[in-house]
Amino acid sequence: MCESCGCAGVSHKSHVHGESGRLSVAVFSDILRHNNDQAAHNREHFTEHGVLALNLMSSPGSGKTSLLEATIDALGDVFRIGVIEGDLATENDARRIRAKGVPAVQITTGQACHLDAEMVHEALHQLDLASLDLLFIENVGNLVCPASFDLGQHANVALLSVTEGDDKPAKYPVLFRAADLILLSKSDLLEFIDDFSPIRAEQHIRALANPAKIFPVSARRPESLAPWLQWLRARWDAQRNGAPRAADTTAALPAK
């Protein structure tokens, strides 16, 4: 709150009166302040209920829903899983998840290019968080817009399928820099795709100063999921045992 004029939530550095009838106001506020505040509120909801919330981002069709299906098959007996689906046009992804016996909330309103914290807030209140351990938020398939919007997740997981080129991190640096874990999806196809080099993919990711772990995974080969499942367990343990880890959330965000 500005003390000199009382404008809501804005801390002014100065009020410069220019020519008559004009006023220049110094503001210095994040344009995404509203979204960031809502995201912080979402994160409180998740943390309070001991839920680990993960934001899944990738190009369209990189295998987000398939990975979730395979993850539910592998961990459904260990963790109580819930999913928020960001596919705004159809119920298809939510239906696939529900077929696995897991609650899925479909986000139905908003712009079709990204999720924001308010949409996730609406969705999370349709879930019984107290009965969940893990919440996956499947973002809209898009490597640009989702990167700018914090949803309140504890970590970002980016999928890079081996069919889309190992230079994607260089082309979409904002999103891949914000990823806390990168999965090279559809790894069963690596043997057929001769120009995808996991090593080059890693070099592009390190060039973004991102220390994130990188695992190849295939939804078609359950045994390939082991490192991913282990990462999930470790994250969940850390979440349950430790206080909410502020350092992690900052690392997960591009704009703060």
């Binding site: 809501a8 700018s148 390190r206 704009a255």
Partner: protein, 139 residues
């Protein structure tokens, strides 16, 4: 396009500020953008032309100040000016760097028309507004 969503947020903020100052409109909005913000300046400008219609910012210009992108190496301690796809330390090549600046997405300042101006200089203001939209139309 998330630029439109951002402009709507931006204008909502400008609207709050204008209301708090009893202003009738905004004439100039200054935003600082870093290369790691995920926002493209030309797209933001174009989206602004759409988003401002019918708002307190209808006659406002949007100015964008580009924030430089720099990192500090946690291995050798050097500071480097870098690019979004290559944040590596320019001195030793390490990727273990921290961002010093370059991810800003900030509303820096707003210039407002106060109520008195609307009554005292209606002609001047209208003229100013016309130049503004003409300039934007060309850009």
């Amino acid at each position: 396009m998330h630029e439109l969503a951002l402009c709507q947020e931006l204008i909502a903020e400008v609207t709050r500020i204008a209301a708090a100052h009893d202003a009738v409109g905004a004439s100039r909005i200054l935003v600082m953008l870093g290369p790691l913000s995920g926002v493209e300046a030309p797209l933001l400008k174009r989206a602004f032309l759409v988003a401002r219609v019918g708002t307190v910012a209808e006659e406002a210009t949007l100015e964008i100040e580009q924030q430089p992108l720099s990192v500090r190496c946690t291995v050798c301690g050097a500071k480097s000016e870098v690019t979004p796809t290559n944040l590596l330390c320019r001195t030793c090549g390490a990727w273990q760097v921290e961002i010093l600046e370059g991810d800003a997405l900030l509303l820096k300042s707003v210039e407002l028309f106060l109520d008195t101006a609307a009554e005292d200089h209606p002609v001047e203001q209208k003229a100013a507004a016309e130049t503004t939209s003409a300039q934007l139309g060309n850009g």
